[in-house]
């Protein structure tokens, strides 16, 4: 696995060396300006933006924790002692999350908020 990672970095490195050998470099400083559809850039380069998906991000964190428990559960589901009991427990766990999702949907959280 590590070898594959090294191979990938080597690919990137070698390609960049090739590019340096082959590609031209222009002296015109205009090429370094920020692209804004051909007009001069308006305002600062670092614009502020509103993160409108904060609600989705919170929901994601909650469900991601749920997913963390799902994978170990997948391997013990066939166990004769744990199987049926764990099924009931996970059923309750996911049902609670589902109630939360339905609540969020009903309260209008799953819209793209203005």
């Amino acid at each position: 696995m590590a070898a594959v990672g090294v191979a990938g970095l080597l690919l990137f490195g070698v390609a960049m060396v090739m590019r340096r050998l082959l590609a031209p470099v222009s002296a015109n400083p205009v090429r370094l300006t920020t692209y804004e559809s051909g007009v001069d850039p308006v305002g600062s380069h670092w614009a502020q933006t509103q993160v409108r998906y904060l609600g989705f991000a919170f929901l994601y964190v909650i469900f991601a924790v749920d997913a963390v428990y799902l994978f170990p559960w997948a391997t013990v589901l066939r166990d004769a002692d744990l199987g049926a009991a764990s099924l009931a427990e996970m059923g309750i766990f996911i049902a609670v999350l589902l109630v939360g999702l339905v609540h969020a949907a009903r309260r209008g959280l799953l819209r793209w908020l203005p």
Partner: protein
């Protein structure tokens, strides 16, 4: 897990690298041709002579000869390394996908988890690109791709967990071993969720809001030129390859097929290629979703279906165990 000599390790890494460099080109050329014929055009016909087979190689040579520009406003370090992050993550994912029980780049016990984890890092490359560009188009594009990751990673993971539960193992080889034709029916909802969520993860049309060319030019990649831009394209197509092969291994039984003792890897490849064609087909067939529709669809469509699939799988496994 067997101990490998250093020669074996290098050989495997080189084979994975060669596969990584050829399969995306194959998918890309197929996309050129399939899209063209679906739209009543010919597509590339000139380069290489026979039906333009060398078009993408010519493109690669062209990209190498273009000037590499790092804008004055950009954060140099992050800007220059973002393509490498995107590229290497999909390379690592490809290494862990088995083509046949014996043919796998790196045999890892929990390979399903590993593939899902490293292919998620690909999006970090996109985020780095958008944030470091110092460009408003790029920033909005990166924000949109973050939103998309947040929404579609979840159905993808839930659907994968369903396959893992049905097989009782987290190893891709083990999952493909446990596969039976019955899976085609009782895992169908999960498979559809997986396919849609994977397409969205790759930011392929109709889920390509982050790079929507009519409003954001090229989204996070707007400021990139030459080879660095080409590497983003390569990693997008490598992502298609990884997700298609993953779908083939999880849901289509991987190497299962006639003569699979000798030709197993060919079956995996063929099935994965078929899935890639379906992903291309989706691009031609549907218009782009609006950003808010995109989010609603994930949370109110895919997540409930994936949870339903989990319930079906869990009850089915416990009843038949």
């Amino acid at each position: 897990m067997v101990d490998l000599s250093w020669f074996d390790v290098v050989l495997r890494a080189v084979i994975v690298l060669v596969g990584f460099l050829t399969m995306p080109l194959l998918v890309g050329q197929t996309e050129h041709k399939v899209m063209a014929h679906m739209q009543g055009r010919l597509g590339p016909m000139y380069a290489g002579g026979f039906h333009g087979w060398a078009q993408l190689i010519a493109d690669g040579v062209k990209f190498t000869q273009k000037e590499d520009i790092v804008p004055a406003a950009a954060d140099r370090g992050a800007f220059r390394w973002a393509p490498a992050v995107a590229l290497v993550s999909y390379l690592l994912a490809l290494a862990a996908v088995p083509f046949s029980p014996s043919m796998v780049g790196a045999d890892v016990p929990g390979s399903l988890l590993l593939v899902l984890a490293v292919s998620g890092i690909g999006t970090v490359g996109t985020l780095m690109a958008g944030w470091s560009s110092g460009n408003k188009y790029s920033l909005i594009g990166a924000m949109r791709s973050a939103a998309q990751l947040v929404s579609y990673e979840l159905p993808l993971i839930l659907a994968s967990a369903s396959f893992a539960m049905a097989a009782g193992t987290l190893s891709l080889t083990g999952i493909a071993h446990a596969w039976t034709p019955v899976w085609l029916i009782w895992q169908l909802p999960g498979a559809l969720v997986f396919l849609v969520a994977a397409t969205a993860e790759l930011q392929r049309p109709p889920f390509d809001m982050p790079v929507a060319d009519s409003e954001l030019v090229m989204g996070p990649y707007t400021e990139y030129t030459g080879l660095r831009f080409a590497f983003f394209l390569l990693s997008e197509y490598a992502g298609i390859v990884v997700m298609s092969l993953l779908f083939a291994v999880l849901y289509l039984g991987g190497w299962t097929g006639p003569f699979d003792d000798a030709l197993g890897w060919l079956w995996t490849l063929l099935k994965g290629f078929l899935v890639a064609v379906v992903i291309i087909w989706m691009r031609v067939s549907w218009p782009r979703l609006r950003e808010d529709q995109l989010q609603r669809f994930a949370w109110l469509g895919l997540v409930p279906v994936a949870l339903l699939q989990l319930a079906i799988t869990a009850v089915g496994v416990v009843l038949t165990a």
